[in-house]
């Protein structure tokens, strides 16, 4: 089916161009915000990793202390 050309009135064309510019600006803004969110999410993940390490280190030391206190040397 042959596509017929579409004509847009000049006044509306100006409005359309303005709206397109506004849309582009909003999309760009959204892209930037998404980038910032992604970066913050990565920072969150870094902190989570730190916690994993911290918990692991505490566990190691507590195991040592636990073994020292619960497996004492026998009294003579």
């Amino acid at each position: 089916m042959e596509q017929k050309p579409v004509f847009v009135k000049l006044d509306e064309y100006k409005t359309i161009v303005t709206l397109l510019e506004a849309l582009k600006a909003h999309v760009e803004n959204a892209k930037q915000t998404l980038g910032q969110i992604h970066k913050l999410k990565q920072e969150e993940d870094v902190e989570l990793e730190i916690w994993h390490t911290v918990v692991s280190e505490i566990e190691k030391r507590m195991d040592f202390v636990d073994s020292s206190l619960t497996q004492p040397e026998e009294l003579e």
């Binding site: 579409v6 004509f7 847009v8 509306e12 409005t15 359309i16 709206l19 397109l20 506004a22 849309l23 909003h26 999309v27 803004n29 959204a30 915000t33 998404l34 910032q36 969110i37 913050l40 999410k41 920072e43 969150e44 902190e47 989570l48 730190i50 916690w51 911290v54 918990v55 280190e57 505490i58 030391r61 507590m62 040592f64 202390v65 020292s68 206190l69 004492p72 040397e73 009294l75």
Partner: protein
């Protein structure tokens, strides 16, 4: 005669290497404080992230409004039923997600008719 309850007996345990035990305890305390510091940082980052998500939501709402205005400016093509043309959104009586789904379906129908 009732038996007297035994007094609390005291037990002493010899710690063979008290220096190392104390060192481990202090290091563990150090790690606990580091963890707490990290948690405060995490809270701050999370608050910033929530703020950005809120901003993103607002931006998407603005995009939706402008896209609607743009579609309203563009001429309609013969053959597309009235029902598919953009209507003003009714006052919200349904869940927002369902409304968005319906709008997506309308747009897909419009695109299908254009092909």
């Amino acid at each position: 005669m009732a038996k007297k309850a035994p007094k609390n007996e005291l037990f002493f345990i010899k710690i063979s290497d008290p220096k190392t035990v104390r060192k481990h305890l202090l290091e563990a305390s150090q790690h606990v404080v580091e963890g707490m510091k990290s948690y405060e940082k995490y809270k701050k980052i999370k608050a910033q992230k929530l703020q950005k998500l809120h901003e993103l939501k607002k931006t998407f709402e603005e995009i939706k409004v402008v896209a609607g205005q743009l579609r309203a400016c563009l001429p309609t093509i013969k053959g597309i039923p009235e029902a598919v043309q953009e209507k003003k959104m009714p006052h919200i009586t349904e869940i927002e997600l369902e409304q968005l789904d319906k709008e997506i379906q309308k747009l897909e129908e419009e695109l299908r008719l254009l092909q």
